[in-house]
């Protein structure tokens, strides 16, 4: 593995859940290049999967003509991932995080995505300009052996 310089990877795909597998493959390869083990790689795959699924379903309302952009920056001690959309945006602070037991009582099928991202990544930060450029930035610290 060669490090000591920042490496940037960018992926643009049509906004369709069909492309979540492609996005995960992209993230997985980069995670392995970062020296993460299989389970850690899977955790980052999930965080990005959740972020992109939200963009596809919520930001774009399943409009398949839109585009999801995933940027990954690999440095010596972090892997930084940005998910970008030009969709309707939202106020993440206004989203109520319900307990899983409550979601179950209410027979909800959703409401775990953002929690998953926060549990898995070291930083999760939204930056919204609805209709222009909404951005979700996630950082994972690399604990080098």
């Amino acid at each position: 593995m060669v490090a000591n310089f920042e490496r940037t990877f960018i992926l643009h795909v049509p906004s369709s859940t069909e492309n979540l597998a492609l996005i995960r493959g992209f993230v997985s390869n980069i995670g392995k290049q970062a020296g993460l083990d299989e389970n850690q790689v899977c955790m980052i795959e999930i965080a990005v999967d959740e972020a992109c699924a939200n963009v596809i379903e919520h930001a774009y309302g399943s409009d398949r003509t839109k585009e999801v952009v995933v940027r990954a920056k690999l440095s010596d001690d972090t892997i930084e991932i940005q998910v970008e959309d030009t969709g309707k945006g939202f106020d993440p602070a206004s989203v109520e995080q319900k307990e899983v037991t409550r979601l179950i009582q209410e027979r909800k099928s959703g409401g775990l995505g953002m929690r998953m991202m926060k549990l898995v990544m070291d930083e999760v930060q939204y930056n919204m300009k609805p209709g222009e450029r909404n951005e979700l930035r996630m950082v994972k610290k690399l604990k080098r052996p």
Partner: protein, 122 residues
Amino acid sequence: MPNSFSVSGSRQEGISVLALDGFLDAHTAPAFEEAIEKEVSAGHNRIVVDCARLAYISSAGLGVFMTFIEEVREAGGDIKICAVIPKVGQVFEILGFNSLFEIVGDIPQAVARFAHSRAEGG
């Protein structure tokens, strides 16, 4: 296919076993939901979900378990999860599913867990 996922169902001792294969995400969760829905509609409330060949799960997959668990439990049944690989297991664990669902080693163990519970409706 890159996003390949399939569910196959069988009946064992009055219990429905749904075997998941592949990648369970927002794209493929509807197929899993449909499969559980079919069991529940048929009055089959004792369900084992065999995850031996499940390579990946995201929250969309977990959502399917959440949607149905109350309904089958109210009907005297349950959804038991078995044979989870570590990569998938850590997802269940991180979201606290381990304390909300019974997760066991293999199909026979999952089936046995139903043995002592009350008979289901159908």
